[in-house]
């Protein structure tokens, strides 16, 4: 069986830093590895790290160029990649929500009557998440994909509502929007390639168990 070294995909940014912190705690070599430098690969004795955009982590893992990776559940859901989800790491907490302008919410009351909005426009960065949520509610919306500042779409009337990631809610509030429905909560996950997980099962399972123990402390 394959005795190659483990390849780990890390996302740039805070999530990647947290992940490195955990890896070093469980005794994995992380010497000199930085997620915010210009270096994209770190070759250590027993392990190789590749640094990429958070949304690309599941892609590297799905194709097997990385054995495991750390990524937010939000990205896993939106990218809908064929990867194994091993562990909830608990950090990087945020949630997907449907948000509408405050006046609309006040006018229609709680719980918000989402069903009145069938075929209406929704702006979002997360087309797949939005689509599967609305279809589970029996609604077919006109989805508009935006690449940022999604709040704007609802405030200036491009869309009736938005679906976005919310961590503190400040951005929504500052733009006069309120959450009317939480879709799901997302945290960082440890993911693995489906073949790697089988062929390097001992290594990956042991690592996953160690991380689990540390998280439980």
């Amino acid at each position: 069986m394959d005795k190659e070294k483990l390849v780990i995909a890390l996302p740039k940014g805070r999530l990647g830093e947290k992940a490195l912190d955990i890896f070093s705690k469980v005794g994995l070599d992380t010497k000199g590895v930085e997620v915010e430098s210009r270096m994209l690969q770190f070759e250590l004795e027993d392990v190789r790290y590749i640094i990429c955009k958070p949304t690309d982590v599941p892609i590297f893992v799905e194709h097997g160029v990385a054995d495991i990776g750390i990524v937010g559940k939000d990205t896993i859901e939106e990218e809908a990649r064929d990867v194994f989800e091993l562990l909830d790491l608990g950090f990087g907490k945020c949630h997907f929500s449907v948000a509408v302008p405050r006046e609309l919410s006040e006018e229609l009351g709680t719980p918000f009557p989402l069903h009145l909005f069938n075929h209406k426009r929704v702006a979002t960065k997360f087309i797949n998440v939005a689509e599967s949520f609305f279809s589970s509610e029996g609604l077919q919306m006109e989805l508009i994909k935006l690449h940022g500042n999604v709040e704007l779409a609802a405030t200036i009337g491009l869309a009736d509502m938005i679906v976005d990631i919310v961590s503190t809610g400040t951005t929504l509030r500052e733009n006069g929007l309120v959450e009317v429905k939480e879709i799901f909560e997302a945290t960082a996950r440890l993911i693995a390639n489906r073949v790697s997980y089988r062929v390097k099962n001992q290594d990956i399972f042991a690592l996953s168990q160690k991380i689990k123990e540390i998280l439980e402390v």
Binding site: M1, H63, D82, L86, L87, A192, Y197, R198
Partner: protein
């Protein structure tokens, strides 16, 4: 007007060398299978919807066509269901069995394009029909192992599973069918986080162990007492016997038991397995036992088989196959002798091309 020179996403052209390698590999595999007594047969690339429906977990990925009469046709998404149809139509007589069939052909599906999944893939495979013996399981497993070993697939391994272990235990421990279905889906996607949340307490530890750990014969021993139901115990014992035989034949290093292998098709019943090579993120071989499939078309016949994904197989091959060189270009002022000389050279086994200049 200029045309847009593109081929459909998820397809590719195979140029000289690619095509030569592919044909070489397919020929070698079919020859090897023939030595085991498996004769190649061919089925149409298009089948009626009725034949392939529900055999596959994801019908939305089918390429469908409608013919002039309004019949719904499907570009075959796999070849086992067509083989079962062949058995149920051409081989109804008892004295045909056991029946050993091989095939090589293209399969089609509208997979996930963003993952670079191919919409058209070449497959080579075998089906052993009419026996449910342990030996028939072994025969097919050894053929799968050999097709990697003898053809130079580097660092290969074969994961072995059984439907009555993971799925059997799930059905035993979780009565609610909706929940069963949901759990099975999560198991196939290997979403351990969601499984951990959804699994009822009495089933949690055992089912999580089954889908997250693999190993050799010791692992099989470890999970042996998870259930005392007849089916479960029989499955374990069957796998132990299979392991014993494969070990004696020198394959114990190449196999492991992995009960997270659940198969992409609904029709699997007993043994299940997947072959892995280095550097490819998907299995290069997948197979298993499907004792009830043929029954859906006609009378029941146990069957077991596997398919090899040719492109992935070539990718993991350690051996280099190169396009044969052209031995000589035949030049002669006499036009007729160019052809005569070339013919002689070809008769000697060379590749000979003729000078095309009319002078």
């Amino acid at each position: 007007m200029k045309r847009k020179l593109m081929i459909p996403e998820g397809t590719r052209d195979y140029l000289q060398e690619d095509t030569y390698i592919q044909r070489q590999v397919i020929t070698e595999l079919l020859d090897e299978f023939l030595q085991w007594g498996y004769h190649e047969i061919k089925t149409p690339m298009i089948e009626k919807w009725d034949i392939v429906r529900k055999k596959h977990k994801d019908e939305t990925n089918f390429f469908t066509l409608v013919d002039k009469t309004g019949d719904l046709l499907v570009l075959r998404p796999e070849i086992t269901a067509p083989m079962a149809r062949v058995v149920a139509t051409h081989f109804r007589e008892l004295d045909n069995y056991p029946l050993r069939l091989a095939y090589a052909g293209e399969i089609f599906s509208q997979g996930s394009l963003k993952s670079g999944e191919r919409r058209q893939q070449a497959q080579v495979g075998i089906e052993l029909i009419g026996s449910d013996s342990i030996i028939s399981d072994c025969e097919v497993l050894i053929m799968a192992l050999d097709s990697m070993k003898k053809r130079g697939v580097k660092d290969y391994s074969l994961g072995i599973s059984h439907m009555d272990i993971t799925v059997g235990l799930l059905k035993e421990l979780v009565e609610n069918e909706d929940l069963q279905e949901k759990i099975e889906e999560l198991m196939i996607n290997k979403d351990l986080v969601a499984l951990d949340k959804i699994l009822p307490d009495k089933a949690k530890k055992m089912l999580l162990t089954l889908v997250s750990i693999n190993g050799s014969i010791e692992f099989l021993k470890k999970i042996k007492d998870f259930s005392s139901s007849l089916k479960y115990v029989e499955a374990i014992e069957r796998l132990e016997t299979i392991y014993g035989i494969l070990k004696e034949l020198g394959y114990s290093q190449d196999i492991f038991f992995d009960f997270s292998i659940l198969g992409d098709f609904d029709y699997y019943t007993g043994l299940l397995f997947e072959g892995f090579g280095p550097g490819v993120g998907t299995p290069i071989i997948s197979g298993g036992r499907y004792d009830n499939l043929i029954h859906e078309y006609h009378s029941g016949k146990p069957a077991v088989g596997f398919a090899i994904n040719v492109d992935l197989y070539v990718k993991t091959m350690d051996r280099k196959i190169t396009l044969p060189d052209i031995a000589e270009e035949i030049v002669d002022v006499d036009f007729v002798s160019r052809f005569k000389k070339a013919e002689l050279s070809r008769a000697a086994g060379n590749i000979a091309v003729i000078d095309l200049e009319d002078k």
